[in-house]
């Protein structure tokens, strides 16, 4: 037990006790948020409160979060290790696995689409659908299916930025009649939210896939690469 560990333990104990005190105290805020959300639901254009909060009442937050995701990918792109996809590095070449994936992946796609569509009236939405979509991409890669189409830089970047751009575009578009940024007119709210969610799903999915893809399976040490070349006839 070094001094460092003991002091760290004491610090954490202090923080935990402070947090615990806050939990014990738990002052209720003046504002009753659940009531406000449920009273504003008719104006939201969707029937599911969480989606309404995400894409209507607090859409600024969501917009900025998408921007954060995009930023993460941009940084990862800048830092990636240049390494071409080599089949033996991508995943497991196994015919049985391929056969299972052939049935699993379309199912995952349908489920992702369902989650996106269901978001307007029950749990689901762009974030969940996007992560399921990303999982499909990761599975594809692990099963050794070539994902060279992801290398098309222009297409990839367009896909990554699509969600944010659509979100911004819709936000600005509704300003034309003179309402504030991101305030959807009631009669179009449902449609606009669905359009935004669709593009967000694509972008979130692509973001997470490319964050996975930018981490190559093996270090591309030059010596090792040369050895590998020599090994394979």
């Amino acid at each position: 037990m070094s001094l460092r560990l003991v002091s760290a333990a004491l610090l954490c104990l202090a923080v935990t006790v402070a947090l615990a005190w806050a939990v014990l105290d738990r002052p209720l805020p003046e504002e009753n948020l659940p009531d406000r959300v449920s009273s504003a639901m008719p104006q939201s254009g969707v029937d599911h409160p969480v989606t309404a909060v995400l894409l209507n009442f607090r859409s600024y937050d969501t917009l900025l979060e998408i921007a954060v995701l995009l930023l993460a990918v941009v940084v990862a792109l800048a830092l990636r290790e240049a390494q071409p996809d080599r089949p033996e590095q991508m995943g497991l070449e196994n015919p049985l696995l391929r056969a299972v994936m052939a049935w699993l992946l379309p199912l995952i796609l349908v489920v992702a689409g369902f989650l996106l569509w269901a978001g307007s009236y029950q749990p689901g939405g762009a974030f969940q659908a996007g992560s399921v979509l990303a999982a499909a991409g990761v599975l594809l890669r692990l099963a050794g299916v070539t994902t060279a189409w992801l290398d098309n830089a222009a297409l990839m970047r367009a896909g990554l930025a699509l969600g944010l751009l659509t979100f911004l575009g819709v936000g600005l578009l509704v300003m034309l009649p003179g309402v504030p940024f991101l305030t959807y007119p009631l009669e179009y709210a449902g449609t606009l939210i669905l359009v935004i969610e669709l593009t967000l799903t694509l972008s979130i999915g692509l973001t997470l896939i490319s964050l996975f893809r930018l981490t190559p399976p093996y270090a591309d040490d030059p010596d090792e690469a040369r050895e590998k070349e020599a090994e394979t006839p």
Binding site: N94, L97, V100, W103, L104, L107
Partner: protein, 105 residues
């Protein structure tokens, strides 16, 4: 009605029983291969029994089919996972556990 409830309860409890047995198997069995057996058989049967138990109380046809779909997916997933692990173990030369002479019977 009571009969259905009874049946449902029995199926659910049997399902949990098989889950417990599967976990016990994972704990008791001696090597990777035998543990895959416990994983792919007892647990899938446990999930199946729970699914059938819940099926009796399902409110509509799509819900019932969804339960069956989930079971099917779980079956495929654990069969595939078991196969992948067993194959990888075999390729790496993990020796199957052998019963000592006279033991095991």
């Amino acid at each position: 009605m009571i009969l259905i409830d009874l049946l449902q309860g029995m199926l659910l409890l049997a399902g949990v029983g098989f889950f417990l047995v599967g976990t016990l198997g994972i704990l008791r069995f001696p090597d990777v291969y035998t543990r895959v057996h416990a994983l792919t058989k007892a647990d899938n049967l446990g999930l199946g029994l729970i699914v059938f138990g819940l099926l009796l109380g399902a409110e509509s046809v799509p819900v019932a089919l969804k339960l069956l779909l989930i079971w099917g997916l779980a079956l495929v997933a654990s069969a595939t996972a078991g196969y992948l692990v067993a194959r990888a173990a075999r390729r790496r030369g993990v020796k199957p556990w052998k019963a000592r002479s006279g033991g095991g019977a």
